[in-house]
Amino acid sequence: MGPEKDCILDIRDLVMRFGGLMALYRPDFVVMRGSITAIIGPNGAGKTTLFNVITGFLIPTEGLVLFNDKPITCLKPHQISRIGISRTFQTVEIFRNMTVLENVMLGFHGRMGSSFTASGLKAPWAVKKENLIKEKAEGILKFIGLSRKSNHAADSLPLGEQKILEVARALACEPALICLDEPAAGLNETESHVLSSLIRAIKEKGITVLLVEHDMKVVMDISDDILVLNHGQKIAQGPPDEIKSHPRVIEAYLGDE
Amino acid sequence: MEQISLSGQLLQYLITGITIGSLYAMVAIGFNIIYDVTEIINFAQGEFVALGGLTMASLNVTLGIPLVFAFCGTVVFVTLIGLLMDRLAIRPIRQPSVVTLIIATIAVSFILRGAAMYFWGKDPYDLPPFSGRTPINILGGVIQPQYLWVIAFLVIVVVLLSFFFDRTIAGKAMRACADNTDAASLVGINVNRMVLMSFALSAAIGAVAGIIITPISLMEYDRGAMLAVKGFSAVILGGLGSFPGAILGGLILGLIESFGAGLISSGYKDAFALLVLLGVLFFKPSGILGNVEISKIKRF
């Protein structure tokens, strides 16, 4: 297999400008199918911006994002979600007005949601789909370890579990690529440990993981490949061992913080 | 009847537009003061104007209190209403969301309108103009002196406000709240008091607007709703939160309305401002001079 066959996401010549501010400048890289790829960098390096471009929340000033060799830069967020890229948010964005189970069930909306009319008429196929969604959602909660809280109000969960719930919801989109934005932020050591093994388990399922993370322990522990950004540009890419000792990476971190 | 020349007529529209525009600008400033500090759009802003005009009519005409004293009395009274509004209607809301706050200010506007009807009835009230009704002739146009008073008062309000916000401690504290509520409270500014003050201040400006416009257009209890909508249109046109924007927006709106009513259709007079509002909202929600993010709710 050549490298082209292996890559699920290909970022080419990407430029994102906000007025006079250059948020991203050509951080060309590819994400290998089935890998865990981490994006790190000092605050304001453009990591979340990059996520927002990949998931369609921002339209880049220039450049291309290819997902499975198809350009997705002009797609809307919900379309991108439906073709297999799902994400979590840095600021926890669970649906606070729903139960834990309903949060995960919503994740299936893009792929198997029923139309307004079918729902209103309680069409048999809509009811069937709804039952299937529920079953699948319960499966995901089991996988992620939140089954016993499935009927709790989502906002009654502690922060750690809210973050896990967000991952569960993203899994419900049945993605090929899942983008996690600082999943370990605000978690204690035990919780980030749980998270690390969860991310590995996701990889085991054949889902490619792309994550932005500040917690170096988590990053070094689980990543196959690490991309380092600074001021919107790529300054290094490679496996954890290489990145740890990379002079420009050390410089970027020491220079900034 | 004497035929008024076209240029005279256009001049008339211009002056009327600027006068009405000054009124809208004052309502718009009132909106902005409360919005900047609290991120609340006060739907009762127009009621302050109506109350201003009606109270003045009672004090000045019914009770015969001299103009200057009646003026001050009215402003004080309406300011008190503004204070009460914050204390009784806005502050007690436990979980302020945009929708609840909108509903609360609408509720207050209903209460004030209902109370105004109870005390003043449904008939319009008149006020004697500040300096008589002898029209002034300028370039073939005929102008009531009160029009000039309205424009003059807009200038006075703007000058006083800039002095307040630039030179006084309270004004600077309020500006700090507007920039960043959390930071302001960290440096020891009492945010609650600033919110209270913003209501007082915009009530006072509303009262002034009501007093000066009543000799031109009379005042009745239910005028507030439309004034609020027009004032808000001015706010949006100029850019929410921007003071120069409020003035500019108000004046442009006044001119559009005056020329639209004169040259196109007087029946649709009120629709012009609203079409402008919709146009701006749909195509450039940040307005002419604004660069605000679409509404986020601030804590207070």
Partner: protein, 318 residues
């Protein structure tokens, strides 16, 4: 959130069904069924509005306009062009939904205050058009001679109209509750909670908002047609901003997050304005203001939220 069971719906339906019979035997309330017709008409609007505002979180102060467009569409199609009333009603509803799609497209990109003001402005503009386009609408004097409704040659008198209106209200209630309890309703609640997350989960946020807006506008239009054919005359003042805000009072009083609340609120406010507030005459606006303020401060979940409030209190107590 709300999980409807069949029995409460059945019981309430039975109460509504037998109410005219009971009222006919109690002289003091024998005119209540007439008032209930209006309550039913308003309930059709508030159910849709509750889905839009309570569940999807999109405020609208302009639904009086859609109500009016429906009423005038029925009136104009039937009395000026002689079309069948049922056809006119259907066409009016479709037309109104289309207008809602056109207006909602740009308007629903706005949030909070902006959306409130945009819908308010739309409502006022439509109201001005009702007044000014006298050639079509009769202007401020209104329109008369709107035909009543009949089914298979049976003319619907007040008693039958009662059942027509509440029958439609029941269907609308069931349809809307089904939506809420399905994946479509979940998507709407997701939009209310976090638009960004909803989008990331594959929810077509602008599309959903427009569909709900058009649906609620269509219901308002349907209610307007029912009103027009019942009253047989129209006057623009029925559709002013005040009515738009009255709708807001209905759903806030009943409980904005409950479809039941929309029905309760519609019934109570209708009785307030047709019966109980007569004593206050035109001061009713003051009373409405006070009610609205009391609810926002003391009962933010509305009347339908009281059971849950009590339940939570008991849960917290031990």
């Amino acid at each position: 959130m709300l999980r409807y069971r069949k029995y409460p719906v059945l019981i309430v339906s039975l109460i509504i069904a037998f109410f005219p019979w009971v009222a006919a035997h109690v002289p003091a309330i024998d005119h209540y069924p007439d008032i209930m017709i209006f309550a039913g008409i308003y309930a059709i609007i508030t159910i849709g509005l509750s889905l839009l505002m309570g569940y999807t979180g999109q405020i609208s102060l302009g639904h009086a306009a859609f109500y009016g467009i429906g009423a005038y569409a029925s009136a104009i199609f039937t009395s000026r062009y002689g079309w069948n009333p049922w056809l006119s009603m259907l066409l009016g509803t479709v037309l109104t939904s289309l207008i809602a799609i056109v207006v909602g497209g740009p308007a629903l990109k706005l949030k909070g205050h902006y959306l409130a003001m945009a819908t308010l402005a739309f409502g006022i503009i439509v109201f001005i058009i009702f007044n000014e386009e006298a050639g079509f609408t009769g202007g401020p004097d209104g329109m008369t001679g709107i035909p009543g409704l009949s089914i298979f040659g049976f003319k619907l008198n007040a008693e039958r109209y009662y059942y027509l209106v509440w029958g439609i209200a029941l269907l609308v209630f069931l349809f809307t509750t089904n939506i809420i309890q399905s994946s479509a309703g979940r998507a709407l609640r997701a939009i209310h909670s976090s638009e960004a997350a909803a989008m990331a989960m594959g929810v077509n946020v602008p599309g959903c908002k427009i569909v709900v807006f058009a649906y609620s506008a269509g219901l308002a239009s349907l209610a307007g047609s029912l009103y027009a054919h019942y009253m047989n005359f129209l006057n623009p003042s029925t559709f002013d901003i005040f009515f738009g805000i009255k709708l807001l009072i209905m759903i806030s009083l009943g409980g904005i997050h409950y479809i039941w609340g929309a029905v309760i609120g519609a019934v109570i406010v209708t009785f307030l304005s047709y019966e109980w507030l007569h004593y206050f005459e035109e001061l009713e606006i003051l009373v409405y203001g006070l009610i609205l303020l009391m609810i926002t401060v003391f009962l933010p979940q509305g009347l339908a939220g009281i059971p849950e409030m009590i339940k939570n209190r008991f849960k917290a107590a031990p």
